[in-house]
Symmetry: none
Subunit: 146 residues, 4 copies
């Protein structure tokens, strides 16, 4: 198993924010967690609101916690709302089952971390992280086929 490095995480975070600016999105916050769910890099752009760090973290942490990217979490939450209400408590508020997150996989397909983004619509949040993970030479698993 490869270990996600600060250099990679910093590139993913920076690339995500740059993509958001390129697309003219609302100010974003991005969090990159390692495989254990612990923050490696967080960046909150100027004007991104005060709960965005917790929300981006919950997108990434929820993906790691259950082992699915945000798209798949969102589908499951729609089918089983009571279960996901329980997961809110079980995870102590670290679960946001919406698009805008991805597991980060290495060349062998192993999960080495996750990234969560918040600030614009969930779809736009996701559109920023995917190219940033790819540019870092890693594979984003959003819960949908690439």
């Amino acid at each position: 198993m490869t270990r996600l490095t600060l250099k990679q995480a910093d590139a993913i975070a920076g690339g995500t924010l740059a993509k958001g600016k390129e697309l003219g999105l609302a100010p974003l916050t991005v969090v990159v967690l390692d495989a254990g769910g612990h923050a490696v890099v967080l960046k909150r752009d100027d004007g991104s609101s005060i709960m965005r760090p917790e929300l981006a973290t919950a997108k990434a942490w929820g993906a790691l916690g259950m082992g699915f990217g945000g798209r798949e979490l969102a589908r499951r939450a729609n089918k089983a709302p009571g279960f996901f209400a329980a997961l809110n408590s079980i995870s102590d508020g670290r679960m946001a089952p919406v698009p805008g997150s991805a597991l980060i996989r290495d060349g062998q397909g192993e999960v080495i971390g996750a990234v969560g983004v918040s600030g614009d619509t969930s779809e736009n949040d996701e559109a920023c992280l995917v190219p940033a993970v790819l540019a870092a030479g890693l594979t984003p698993d959003t819960g949908d086929p690439l």
Copy 2:
């Protein structure tokens, strides 16, 4: 960026309660937070029930946390109830997505705080805070156009 002063916050809180009395509403509680979500002034009128401070705070904090006034939060919560259930946990119970709150913007449009009101209907709560913020020379952003 201006910093919200105690004098401004006190005027907003006092003006909100005065408007409630003028309209003959139920006893209100009003909380004014700074841009970081920390209380500057809280006032609970005689007879306003004991959870009103937490509820008014959650209205104001939720607006700051997500960067939208209560009207917009309410619309989003209606469309995405599962996501807002997650936000309840992520925010540790500081998110009340109903009308009765406003971001407070300065002359440049920057968010310098938020106000939350609880005690009567959400619409009546909001009707009291809007003139109070305007009278303080600031702009209330309820999530709807003024």
Copy 3:
């Protein structure tokens, strides 16, 4: 039993902050709770740091919680540090056993609320609240004889 009114609580909070300015103290935060430990008025002066609301609340709440003013709480905490460490958890972080708080008693000696102040030294915090409670026609019980 008299019920503490918003008018009285507002006078106590305003009087406390005015006394702090008169004495040239650091910026203060003052919280006035009713007999049930629920906030009636909170005021944080410009420049008073961001945890002061929680700290002033914990001074007042701790006094109500145990039924002693801050001076007596401080003496007991010094004698029984392990017990007060437990009280930190038991009170869910609403206990600050230091001077700078007082039970508020009415003309019959009944506890109708409490006030907590934070921002300068504990002794200076207390020096501001005592005259403010007296000026409101009520009796401050700091845990020491008046």
Copy 4:
């Protein structure tokens, strides 16, 4: 009052980690918070252990919460251990009263954020953040004179 920008916070975080490498220190984690105590940038270097993000955050948050840099918090904690045990609870575990943090002041002396560092000794942690804040054109207030 200036608002701390992502650009400034990123420079402070990057400069702190670079200084740690230059001095041959253990792997560091650095967190830069805005004036409201909300994360702007977090960076955890390769090999920095998993609680470092929470610890660096608690160093910075505690400084903002009380309005003193880590050196002054450490002095006060040594004099009043029971009070700081209470503050642990009051702050919900966001208070680490040791060196290795600084308030960040702008040219007018206003607090616009804070930085916390963890990973090596508290003194070494601090030695990394001071030049990084200065290089960003801002003033670090560690609780001791510069």
